[in-house]
Amino acid sequence: MLSIHNLCKKFGLIEVLHTISLNIENESIVGLAGPSGGGKSTLLRCIQRLESPNSGSISFKGKSGFMFQDFQLFPHMTVLENLTYAPRINNKTLDHAAHAIRLLTTLGIANKAHSFPHQLSGGQKQRVALARSLMMHPTLLLCDEPTSGLDVATIDDVVELLNFVRKMGVTMVIASHDLDFLTRIADRIILLKGGAIVVDVQPKDLTNPIQHLKAYY
């Protein structure tokens, strides 16, 4: 379980996260919604330790993976190298290439294994970024705006991909401004506004979750 207790984060004088406390069950998918500047991405970055909180604590057992909004694939490496580089550095004995190819096949982009990131479409980059995170065998996957800049059909693909990850038993926290997407994928949606949690609901309990959440924007 991921436990966040009284988390505060300031950038200069601006308090971006204000005493956030939160427990997230294993193998659940939690959506972080809210207006821009609400603190969604900062919360994800604090969980991943890309930002140091000013106070409060985050406890989590296991490995976490992070999918960046703009993917951050390594442009000078092929897809296969992007996937195998970090695992190879961390463990030289295993055959990471075979695992990577299996993962790329499952995600339907095995034919792109030797392409460079600039030769891929947005949706393909998204799959590579996901595969790269999965290569590290995370038990928690943090996704920052995974549908940003993607067309409707590709968003459907992302839903399918994340459901595939759910089946692997990975807990996910997804920050997105796209309420439609979040209600399709998340077991629970937390709305952050002004750095504080203003709503914490399970979409299945509501008849019209999107309308319900929009009322808090």
Partner: protein, 212 residues
């Protein structure tokens, strides 16, 4: 005609020293410059490295060369050869410029590349070696070619401490013949030829880049 060929060969014999200074200075410049560029992000080194770069860029190269060649024997009791003094001076001076070129390249790289490396638990050394620097080098290649060309021309300063390089040999031929035009044109031709060669190598390296 025979005299001209003799002059070309005589002045050309200084090319060895010019190339030794260029290659030696460049090696030190790249190694030390890269080290400075990386270590200046570590707080304990920032001040020292910033001062070093500032002094190297803020004082004349001819002063630095004179300092290393004439002042070190008195200060440290070490007598350096002309070649060693030249390589050390040009290397130290170039390292300051290389560090600044690298800084521009590093700061132009998306912050997310560092974060992606951290997220994937790639150790610092490997992140710099395999993720950051290969991307930075591709971006700074044109500026680095400029630096190499500048260094080549700066090696002519070795003549001020008696180094028999292209420039000094041209001056020596000129003073023997009481005419400067031909010897200086010959030296200029050598320098320009070397510059064209460096530009050509730089272009080939840029074309070799593997991604857009």
């Amino acid at each position: 005609m025979e005299g001209l060929i003799k002059d070309i060969l005589l002045i050309g014999s200084g090319i060895l020293l010019t190339l030794e200074l260029l290659i030696g200075g460049l090696l030190i410049g790249i190694l030390l410059g890269t080290l400075c560029a990386i270590l200046r992000y570590k707080k304990i080194f920032t001040l020292v490295i910033n001062r070093f770069i500032s002094i190297m860029r803020g004082t004349p190269l001819i002063l630095q060369l004179s300092f290393i060649y004439f002042a070190t024997p008195g200060l440290l009791g070490i007598k350096l050869s002309i070649l060693a003094a030249g390589i050390i001076t040009f290397g130290l001076n170039s390292s300051a410029y290389v560090a600044e070129i690298l800084r521009a390249g590093i700061e132009n790289l998306p912050k997310g590349q560092f974060e992606a490396a951290k997220t994937l638990q790639i150790p610092h050394f490997y992140a710099w070696k395999d993720i950051i620097l290969p991307q930075v080098i591709k971006n700074i290649l044109p500026a680095m070619v400029n630096e190499v060309i500048a260094l080549l021309k700066e090696t002519a300063l070795i003549s001020t401490i008696g180094g028999m390089d292209l420039m000094r040999r041209a001056q020596s031929v000129a003073s023997e013949q009481f005419t400067y035009f031909i010897p200086l044109c010959i030296a200029g031709g050598y320098y320009y030829g070397l510059t064209l060669l460096i530009e050509y190598i730089g272009k080939k390296m840029e074309q070799k880049k593997m991604y857009a």
